[in-house]
Structures are given as structure tokens and as C-alpha cells.
Symmetry: C2
Subunit: 362 residues, 2 copies
């Protein structure tokens, strides 16, 4: 089987290059513009059979900014849903430099050691990608990308976090319907995207480095409390001591947090992605987590909470965009914000005035 990234040139739509660009300047799209799209039935059938070209094509529809593609994608997703759900969804985060790519490369190969399939997705809403590109470079996961069981897909192109996250969550459904029973969702540990990832995965893994204080500045507040496991990378050679010290410190910090609803106590482990040390132990932790939460019902409960969350999140976000994307409202907001910031109007009456106008226009 060809690696999916190599298939892009054969399909009607192209994989996103990772840099936002209008579809009209996309050379692949131009060249193949007249190639007919498969029907919904053909796509669903292909996906459920595990046809990687059909999967790629459906994912590209999900990512498309054209409304007719979006509508088509929704039909495909709807029909794939009964075939999805049976998987381990694992979120992986860490600051640039923590060694996420190398770690995913080796974690992924470890997961696939006894068979099965793995999809590696990403959420990176930053348009400029100055902070370490996610999956932008095909060579980043060199060995994993050559594995026949792996499907690696870059982050949907730049856009709002909500939009990017929605696309990734929809892609999970498609991948699971295609038989991918392991899903990694990668994100950089510096923005708001962790919350979005956290709300679509079963297990949240935080990759850290040895050292305290300055080294941790990149990790956003609150992320540590989301983690089901913290793994300290680069525990090799002279760095073993510092890594173990960091392990002890993180353990003692986690001890101060209240117990998680899952009944699971987050663990802290050390490993070396580069030298491939301690990988089995990390995966053993994840196995134990899934055994626990499948047993105590949390796995199912959390998935249902997440489905509900995304329904309400989608509603809230469209209610907001309908308001904020209105040019008249935007002008009023600018005006009122100035009054509020100079203490000339209260936040509440400013809001009330704009809302009154908005609802009067309905």
C-alpha cells in the first residue's frame, strides 16, 4: 500500500499544504478540477473497506472551505458514524523542542508492533506556524510514515481554532470507520488548542523535559491539570538524573491536585524517544488507563460528554459568529469598547445597547 501522503496528487482535491491559501491557487485542485467526485455511497463503501485513497479524499472534503464539499462531507460522516467509535483516542502535547515528532514516531511504531492501525492527526490553528510546524514536514516521522498501518495527516489549514478542531474531530470519525483503532491527535502546548484536543480524546499525554522553572515557561497554565500522564523525554546519558528529579517534582505537584473524575491517578514517567528507552512502560501506563476506564464506565461516559460538548460548542460558536461577523455590529463594538475602556460606559450597558440593536434587526 502506498503511503497516503503520496496519493494526494491522484485525487480530485489536494491535501492541505499546511499554509492557508485560497483553493483557486492550489495547483492540484486546478489541474483536477473537472475530475468528478465519487458519490457519498462510493466514499462510505471505500472508507469502510479501509481504502486509504477514499479516506484521504473524504478528509480533504472535510477540510474544504467550499460549502458544497462541506455538505457532502457531512453526509459521508453521518454514514460513517455507525462504523466509528471503537478506538483509543490519545492526545499528545508538549512545547516545541520537547521532541514530539520523534516520540510520536516511536510511540506509533510501538502501538503498531502487534498489528492494528494508527491515524496521526493534528490541531494547529496557528496560521504562521512560527512556533514549530506540526506535521508540516513529511520527514518528521520518517519511520512511522513508511509503516503500512499508519495514516498521517497534517493539521487542517489555518483558520479559527473552532473550525480546525471541528475538522479534526470529523476526521477521527472517518479514520475510525476505516478501521484505524488508534488515533493520535498532536498539538503544540502553547495555545488554546489543548482544551479542544482534550475534548476529543480519551487519554491526554503531556511530554515534558527535565528541569524546572524556566524550561516550563512554554507550557500554558492549566495544561498540567488536564494530563492523564506526564512523560519526561530525553532521559538518557547525563540527563537521567535531571529527568528523575523532574519526575519526582511533577509527581509531588500532581499529588496536590484533586483526583480526576476518571478514577485514574495521573502518572509521571521518564523515557528517551531518541534512544527508544522506556517506551513499553509509557504504553503500559496507557493500557492500564484504558483497562480502568473501560471497566468503571468512564470511557463510555466521557465519550458521551464529548459528543454533547461538541454539539453545544458548535451552537455557541455559530451564535457568536452570526453576531460578531456582522459588519454593523463590529463597528458598534469597536465604538463601545472604547467607551468601556475609558471608563465612560459600563461593560453591561455597552453590551445591552449593541444586543438591543442586534435583536431589533432580527
Amino acid at each position: 500500500m502506498d503511503h497516503p501522503e503520496n496519493d494526494e496528487k491522484y485525487i480530485g482535491l489536494t491535501v492541505n499544504s499546511g499554509v492557508a491559501q485560497p483553493p483557486s491557487v492550489n495547483p492540484y485542485l486546478k489541474r483536477h478540477r473537472r475530475k468528478p467526485l465519487p458519490t457519498v455511497g462510493e466514499m462510505v463503501e471505500g472508507i469502510v473497506k479501509g481504502d486509504i485513497t477514499m479516506l484521504s479524499r473524504a478528509v480533504t472534503l472535510v477540510e474544504s472551505i467550499q460549502p458544497e464539499h462541506y455538505a457532502l462531507a457531512q453526509e459521508v460522516i453521518e454514514k460513517c458514524m455507525p462504523h466509528s467509535g471503537d478506538s483509543r483516542r490519545i492526545g499528545i502535547t508538549g512545547v516545541p523542542g520537547a521532541g514530539k515528532s520523534t516520540s510520536i514516531d516511536i510511540f506509533g511504531r510501538h502501538v503498531l508492533r502487534d498489528g492494528g492501525k494508527l491515524a496521526v492527526l493534528a490541531i494547529d490553528p496557528s496560521s504562521e506556524r512560527t512556533r514549530g510546524s506540526i506535521l508540516g514536514d513529511k520527514t518528521r516521522m520518517e519511520k512511522l510514515s513508511q509503516h503500512p498501518g499508519a495514516f498521517i495527516r497534517p493539521s487542517p489549514s489555518a483558520g479559527s481554532l473552532g473550525g480546525v478542531a471541528r475538522k479534526t474531530r470529523e476526521t477521527i470519525v472517518l479514520c475510525e470507520a476505516a478501521g484505524y483503532n488508534n488515533i493520535f491527535v498532536e498539538t503544540v502546548g502553547v495555545g488554546q488548542s489543548e482544551t479542544a484536543v482534550h475534548s476529543m480524546v480519551d487519554f491526554f499525554l503531556l511530554i515534558q523535559l527535565a528541569g524546572t522553572g524556566d524550561e516550563l515557561q512554554g507550557i500554558k497554565r492549566g495544561i498540567m491539570e488536564m494530563a492523564d500522564g506526564i512523560v519526561i523525554n530525553k532521559a538518557d546519558g547525563d540527563n537521567i538524573g535531571p529527568a528523575q528529579l523532574a519526575q519526582a517534582q511533577f509527581k509531588s505537584a500532581l499529588h496536590l491536585f484533586p483526583p480526576a473524575e476518571s478514577g485514574w491517578s495521573p502518572e509521571v514517567l521518564t523515557y528517551s524517544g531518541y534512544y527508544e528507552l522506556g517506551i513499553a512502560e509509557v504504553w503500559d501506563m496507557i493500557d492500564r488507563y484504558f483497562a480502568l476506564v473501560k471497566e468503571n464506565g468512564y470511557y463510555e461516559r466521557k465519550r458521551m460528554q464529548q459528543a454533547r460538548y461538541w454539539m453545544y460548542e458548535t451552537i455557541d460558536s455559530r451564535l457568536r459568529s452570526h453576531f460578531y461577523d456582522n459588519p454593523e455590529i463590529a463597528a458598534m463594538l469597536e465604538d463601545r469598547e472604547r467607551l468601556v475602556l475609558s471608563n465612560r460606559q459600563s461593560s453591561f450597558t455597552a453590551a445591552r445597547d449593541i444586543l438591543d440593536y442586534y435583536f431589533s434587526k432580527k
Copy 2:
């Protein structure tokens, strides 16, 4: 000057008893129903002069559920705004049992030792108040409540957190206009209300107890990361050792968090509210915080961020209530949620269908 809580029976509206009840069954309201309200001008003039009866009356308007009172309150607030802002707003949280009342009683008297005025407000959106009533009992802050410089006001009565928080924030404006240059906003450390409090104060103080693990279960995840100071109560007698141990543990945990935007490193202190030990040190910390953030501009910047936050928060919350309070929408939501939870519809198409209906009715 009489204590304000004793004045309630003389004014046209009553202070909230802390338990939600429709205004019609409120005995004070009934008895004085025909007493005319002062004009906006009279109220503003009284407040700015520091007239505590007028202040109480305006706060009661803010808390009223009657639309005409609300409209009047907004006018008063608007006119008080130029007189407000010059204060220290301090949020105080901690689980029930941490000794918040005793601590506020002594902290408050310490603040007032050299003059000035202090308003103690609260946010407690729980309607049942089973988790330790906030300011429900007038005897809770016995000494402070007899201090002529103190204005103690129970939490606005039960309602949505957003509504309760808005009322408290508006009350801050009124109190500041009346010359209260110290504002405490108390909340229980078990719910969502800390985020609301955090978004209206300058300094966020978390009261903890000695001991790790089980004792901390009541504190919600994420609260520790909001704290500008953690103070460990009941550091007296045999408990001094455990309190110091807890201090060391919290210090080491805070060390793992990234630095706050304020430039301030949160500190951990021990004290005894009951024996009044270590109080000056806690207040010295808070003094140093204000010195730092007034110097580096963060004080002003954060206040502006908060004003902006409340404007957008109010807008978002009314956009949501306009949608969710619609009975037709509520019925559709119930229906679609069932489909989503049984994996028969995707979260996104369920949301889309309901939104399409909502916007088509506009």
C-alpha cells in the same frame, strides 16, 4: 453610623435574605411597596457622599429581578462609574471549613486598622447553600460587622452564575463610588464561581489547610493556578508543623507553574485566623503585590481586560439565553441530543439543523 445590615428595614427594598424567593412574598417589600424610590440623582448624590442607606438601596436595585429596577440601577451605575475604580479588589476563596469567615473578619479589621473603608461582597450562585452558606449568617463576621468602616453584603440571591456575578460586579462600582477603597469578594472554592471572581478582582487569595491529598479534594482543578497568594490557615499549636509542610509542598508545586503575566510570583504563607497570628505578613504580601503591579502597569492593564471581558461575556451570555430559552429550540435540543448520544447523528449536523431553524425564524 449604624451598621448597614440594620438599615434594611427602613428602605423601600429589602436586602436579599440569601435564599431565592419571589419578591411578592418578601415581607419588607410588601410592607413598603408604596414607598417611592429616590430618583437616580438622589441616589448618586447619596452614594458619592458615602450615605450607606442610599448605597444599600442602590445595591438592592441591582439585585432586583424587576426590569424597571434593573433599568434604574443601570443609570445609577453609569453615573457612579467616574467615581469608581480607585480600590483594591481582592478575591478570597477556600473550601468550606478552611475558615474563610474568621479569616475575613480578622483580615478586614487589619485592613481597616489605619482607616479607609472595606466592602465585603460575595458570589454564591448555589441556590441550596448546602455547601456552607456565604454571609448568610450575620454573626459570621462578628467583629468586622460592627466596624463603622465595613459594609458587608450577602451574595445576590440564587440565579445563574452569570447573573449573580454581574450583580456583584455592578455592586463593586457602587461601593467604590461610595468611597470603599478595599473590596473583598468571597466565594466558595468548589464551583465555577472562582473564574467569575477572578475576572473582577486584582488579587486572588486562596485559603488552604495543612495536609495534602484528601484534604484538598474540595478545591476545584485550576483554582491553584489562579491564585496570587496561597495562605494556609490554622497554623497554630500542634498544627504548625503540618502547616509548614503544606507550605513547602505548595511552594514546590507553584514552582512548576509558568510565571504569571503580572510579573508576580505567587507566595505561600501560613497564619492563624483564630489566634490572629501571621496576619500582618499576609497583608504585607498583598501590599507588595499592589506596589509591583501598579508600578509595572499590570494593575491598569488587567482592569481594562476585565472591563472588556465583561462586555463580551454579557453579549455571549445573552446570545445564548436568547437561543436556549426558546421553548421550541429547547424541545429540538432534547430530541437531537438523544440522537447524538446514541451515535445516530453527528454533533455537528445536529447543531446545524437546530441553528438553521433558529436563524430561519429570525
